[in-house]
């Protein structure tokens, strides 16, 4: 009997270890998405603004990690971690940390199936993702330190509050709002904050001309943009795959596998959708739109990657690719200048992803999905615009005209990204 209990405890331990390992690997893939956003954005801006977008991306990641540790995590999961991270602050050593992670008794008692610190790791990389969405949209014209200030507020408060509504057990969760891995909580959140930023900032100089003219401002390095997209694609296996949160039994393992397949197929569908519509409309395979299409497929499937069949996921992606194309063209008509397509990819495809959940998940209702969508957009947009306006009327959000003309790199970073290559412009 005792031997049986011992064996059972050992199995518990291995299962716990497997789930923890799985969460850590998936989290590392999500961390890798930060590199994806960085490369994507660096590829889609002009050379003269590249060093600054790089600085923004690495800087925001660091700020997001620190603010979420200091404050955001406790707001988002008030009960979950029993304030442990907060309490960690009171000591420098590890004593308390060890004390707060799960022990075998908790595991065997069914109270825990993975390390709390692994959970924190998986959560902290998500908040960085949300913030990364903003940086691309406001690129090439925003003051570096105003951006960082906003990043601190978003990751400390704005994101965690709406994250709590759904994943922390808040009212959206209780209403049955379905958002498996964060089409809404992460992507739409980021896009809403980005839209607020763009509205406060205004378009880049020269982007829109008189008489409704839309001028192209080509990204300077498309191999980087492509690399960034493929990094994001890879990282998304962690983003969605890890959101199952458990792999150590047959059912969960099957779910994770389905999530991997559907994530991949939705991206493929999105890419193809955007490529076909670009071909039909422009007559050309516009690479930047195609990359946005793949990302739109990924964002759309994120709300429910275990719902559809692989074929269904492909279709969801295809439609997302089409939508993102239309959105890119339309936002330009509305003179909303989004250099990397963040609003279209994360906002439009994010909303579509939330609303299409009921098609493959019988438990979800369109009404609740819409409500959740509105709550997220409302909260994030309103608070963000408040912060952006506060920044605008104090330190300012936009660089002056000459800096914008000469490139923010020289003024904010004091160096150039490609000192030997760039031609005068």
């Amino acid at each position: 009997m005792e031997e049986l209990t011992q064996l059972s405890a050992r199995i518990d331990g291995v299962g716990y270890a497997l789930d923890t390992f799985y969460l850590l690997v998936m989290g590392a893939l999500v961390m890798w998405m930060a590199a994806g956003f960085t490369m994507l954005e660096a590829g889609l801006v002009r050379a003269k603004n590249t060093a600054e977008i790089l600085t923004k991306n690495v800087g925001l990641y660091a700020i997001a990690c620190i603010m979420y540790m200091l404050c955001g995590y406790s707001i988002m999961y008030p009960g979950d971690f029993e304030g442990a991270v907060f309490r960690n602050l009171t000591t420098f050593g590890t004593g308390l940390v060890a004390a707060v992670d799960n022990d075998l008794a908790a595991v065997s008692g069914g109270d825990a199936s993975y390390s709390r610190l692994a959970d924190f790791f998986f959560q902290v990389v998500f908040v960085a993702t949300a913030m990364s969405i903003v940086s691309g949209a406001v690129a090439e014209r925003m003051k570096l330190w105003s951006f960082f200030t906003f990043a601190a507020v978003l990751t400390a408060v704005i994101y965690p509050v709406q994250g709590f509504w759904k994943w922390g057990g808040g009212f959206l969760e209780q209403l049955g709002f379905a958002d498996f891995a964060g089409s809404g909580v992460v992507h739409l959140c980021g896009a809403s904050a980005a839209l607020a930023g763009i509205l406060v900032l205004g378009p880049r100089k020269g982007k829109y001309g008189p008489g409704g003219a839309v001028n192209a401002i080509p990204g300077c390095n498309l191999p980087l943009a492509t690399l960034g997209t493929m990094v994001l694609w890879l990282g998304w296996f962690g983003f969605n795959g890890g959101s199952v949160l458990r792999i150590s039994d047959v059912g969960s393992a099957n779910s994770v596998a389905l999530v991997f397949v559907n994530t991949n197929m939705a991206a493929a569908g999105g890419l193809l959708g955007a490529m076909l519509v670009a071909r039909a409309w422009f007559g050309k395979a516009d690479l930047t739109v195609i990359l946005n299409g793949a990302l739109a497929g990924l964002v759309a499937i994120t709300a429910e990657p275990v719902g559809p069949s692989p074929f269904g996921a492909t279709c969801i992606g295809l439609v997302a690719g089409l939508l993102v194309f239309l959105s890119i063209v339309m936002l330009d008509k509305l003179r909303i200048d989004d250099p990397v397509g963040a609003i279209s990819v994360h906002g439009v495809a994010g909303m579509y992803g939330l609303l299409v959940v009921p098609a493959s998940n019988a438990d979800a209702s369109l009404g609740i999905q819409l409500l959740g969508l509105l709550c997220i957009v409302g909260w994030v947009f309103v608070t963000s615009i408040g912060v952006w306006l506060a920044l605008r009327y104090t330190v300012g959000v936009r660089v002056d005209e000459q800096t914008e003309y000469e490139g923010v790199d020289l003024h904010e970073c004091g160096l150039e990204a490609y000192p030997e290559f760039t031609t005068a412009d």
């Binding site: 003309y405 020289l410 004091g414 160096l415 150039e416 031609t423 005068a424 412009d425």
Partner: protein, 112 residues
């Protein structure tokens, strides 16, 4: 014929091209150059070491024109390229002994 060479601020290039085109001159050759003059460059900082980038990117435009419109072209360039700030640039005029249009072999004013 005259060869008019102007060193201007790069962002004035489009304005200058349009101004010349109004006079009926459509051929221009543009070179990206570095200018050193009274306008100062900027200082960059790399890993703690300051360095001065003391050249400024300028556009050098060449227009070959018949003698009779040279004056008007010079004025058009001047008008379009002026910002009134230091670094607006210079115009240099030289005598052109001959001009040939390669495609047709035409020479003289008909070629420019």
């Amino acid at each position: 014929m005259k060869m008019i060479t102007a060193i201007i601020k790069p962002f004035k290039l489009d304005d200058v091209r349009e101004a010349i085109a109004e006079i009926g001159v459509h051929g221009i050759t543009v070179t990206e150059v570095k200018g050193f003059g009274r306008q100062r460059g900027h200082t960059e900082l790399y890993r703690g070491a300051e360095y001065v980038v003391d050249f400024l990117p300028k556009a050098r435009i060449e227009v070959a024109v018949a003698d009779d419109i040279a004056e008007r072209v010079i004025e058009a360039i001047c008008g379009a390229a002026r910002t009134g700030k230091i670094g607006d640039g210079k115009i240099f005029v030289t005598e052109l002994a001959e001009a040939v249009r390669i495609r047709t072999g035409e020479t003289g004013p008909a070629a420019v």
